[in-house]
């Protein structure tokens, strides 16, 4: 699943580590999600959406 996490993070000037700390996950988790290697669970997707104050579907895109 594609996502806009990297762009959204960059817009805020956050490093992967910054985002990981805000989400209370490892930096490796953020990297795996950003690169599309791992699709987060619904609870984590909601946490990401809440952090960016956006809807899930504005961050995670349909398709491969």
């Amino acid at each position: 699943m594609k996502n806009r996490l990297k762009v959204l993070r960059a817009e805020r000037g956050w490093s992967q580590q910054d985002l990981a700390q805000r989400l209370e996950v490892s930096r490796q988790s953020v990297n795996a999600i950003e690169t599309g290697k791992y699709d987060p669970s619904l609870p984590l997707a909601f946490r990401i959406a809440d952090l960016f104050d956006m809807a899930i579907e504005e961050i995670f895109l349909r398709g491969e």
């Binding site: 209370e24 996950v25 490892s26 930096r27 490796q28 988790s29 990297n31 795996a32 999600i33 690169t35 290697k37 791992y38 987060p40 669970s41 984590l44």
Partner: protein, 140 residues
């Protein structure tokens, strides 16, 4: 195999538990090895000292199970589960194939505790598979 710099509380507990059980294993294995050379020990004593190293190895398996239960980072948890599944598949498949070959008198006898060693080798292979597929080794 711990490769991530920042460790979660669950990972720290896992490390402490593994170190404890590994230390106990080394001590009990040395005791058991030394005592098996004594022929005049009772069956009860030999059984007790033979059980101890096995229980210590079981403790490492328990620690890995607790890591999977306690880890709050779902991605890291998934990596550990994948490692354990690859390890289990390798160990069970190896034991099955070897068992039938041994039954056919094609290969020599292997003591059963070696399948635990194969399982831990599988855990390392699982970490490498994780690294290739997900860019991260995992925790165990």
């Amino acid at each position: 195999m711990i490769c991530n710099a920042a460790k979660s509380p669950a990972q720290k507990r896992y490390l402490r538990r593994v170190l404890l059980f590994t230390g106990l294993y080394l001590v009990t294995f040395a005791l058991q090895t030394a005592l098996t050379k004594e022929n005049d020990l009772s069956v009860f004593t030999r059984t007790a000292f033979a059980l101890l190293p096995g229980f210590c190895i079981s403790g490492v398996f328990w620690a890995i199970g607790r890591l999977i239960v306690e880890e709050q980072d779902e991605f890291q948890r998934m990596l550990t589960v994948r490692q354990a599944m690859i390890a289990s598949g390798l160990a069970m498949a190896s034991a099955s194939v070897w068992g039938f070959l041994e039954g056919a008198a094609v290969v020599p006898h292997v003591d059963a505790y070696w399948w635990a060693v194969v399982w831990f080798i599988g855990l390392a292979i699982g970490g490498a598979v994780n690294r290739v597929q997900y860019g991260s080794w995992g925790m165990a």
